[in-house]
Symmetry: C2
Subunit: 202 residues, 2 copies
DNA sequence: CGTGAGTTTGACCAGATGGTCAAATCAAGA
DNA sequence: TCTTGATTTGACCATCTGGTCAAACTCACG
């Protein structure tokens, strides 16, 4: 394992290649379904070489998840309590849907983890995520108190946004099997926009 | 393997125990993450004994999925084109949400399969499921033409119902981590009901 | 009972998989 | 160029896993 110094050119390149490959493989097959050989091959490294950069399969997975969690929650984080309520929420929704289109692997990585009980990120959920959601729920409640948006259960409002947007990334195969040639996001964007306009109008 | 005769008392009991155990294990760990030993142990059988009833791990999985698909789609199947539109749809939603509460393992079984690209049920999706959804989408469109419900993309309307209801089964850990003690379904039911009343009112 | 089909099991196997290690090779600064 | 740490690899290992098999056991029924 490399010492504690600044990462070399090669270290940077290989670590990045490994994480990129791991994202492909873990998101497509889940933790248990992914093999170190597969990740190594996709990263263009031999298995022992890969294990020179990360001590174990688990370590790769952990590095991936924690590295992506911030990216994943950024849109919610950006929800601005000083902005125009309806506009803020619709823009949050747009960004989430965009992430489902542009980062489906990340979405499925988390989906895989969650659907199997989140054995490796349970802490992050009940600490960091809960704190963030509670905070934003308070903002939503405040907007409701002001009569700016319809009164609804703020947590379930957030869940509904997650469900509606991530569905298109996580269950992509199903959506495409049913829609055929039609681009899922073409129809999803206006549908979801309409839905929340109607729902949130007081 | 037992002959082609009527199943004996023991066969019935053991097959049922195996499928029940398999549902537990597959829904919690996915196909690849589940082991035959685990299923056998949970069914109270030895591994060779289990493989006396099903020829392979794959066969158990297939039997489970195809056995449950009908159950899973029954609520949509029951959507009655001759019923009162709003009432029919809201009742469909209620039944779907109820399934998330009462049959979360089944939901996660399909979720696991779908999120990993549905390698084992791709055919069922683009044939049976697509046909059913297209047919019900036509019913929805008809109701929209009659002005009974708001005009929306029918397929995405169906997707939204799936997303909102199944979210509570598939991502149960996340929902509970955020809600704490609060019962997810207590809040979800009225939230979703309100949502669709607002959305569908012309 | 006795008997034949149905059921169960311990021992076993081959391949896959996560991980190790010493030796070989490479790269960059003195 | 030489040296030293960084990088890479082939060979190897223990364990896990899906699956097999022959032998043993049990059950239902004539």
């Amino acid at each position: 394992m490399p010492k504690d110094r600044a990462p070399t050119r090669i270290q940077k390149k290989n670590r990045a290649a490994i994480l990129e490959a791991a994202l492909n493989v873990f998101s497509a097959h889940g933790f248990r379904g992914a093999t170190v050989d597969q990740i190594a091959a996709e990263a263009g490294l031999s298995k022992p070489n890969l294990l020179y950069y990360f001590p174990s399969k688990e370590a790769i997975h952990t590095a991936l998840l924690s590295g992506l969690l911030d990216t994943w929650l950024a849109p919610l984080h950006d929800l601005d309590e000083n902005g125009e309520p309806m506009e803020e929420i619709l823009s949050y929704i747009t960004r989430k849907l965009q992430m489902s289109r542009e980062l489906p692997r990340e979405s499925r990585l988390f989906a895989n983890e969650l659907v199997q009980g989140a054995p490796r990120i349970h802490d992050a959920l009940s600490n960091d995520l809960k704190a963030l959601v509670d905070q934003k729920a308070a903002v939503l409640t405040h907007w409701m108190d002001q009569g700016k948006i319809a009164r609804l259960h703020p947590h379930h409002l957030i869940f509904s946004i997650w469900a509606l947007t991530q569905h298109y990334a996580d269950f992509d195969v199903q959506v495409r099997a049913i829609l055929g040639d039609e681009d899922p996001f073409e129809g999803a964007a206006p549908f979801i926009d309409t839905l929340y306009r109607k729902l949130l109008t007081p």
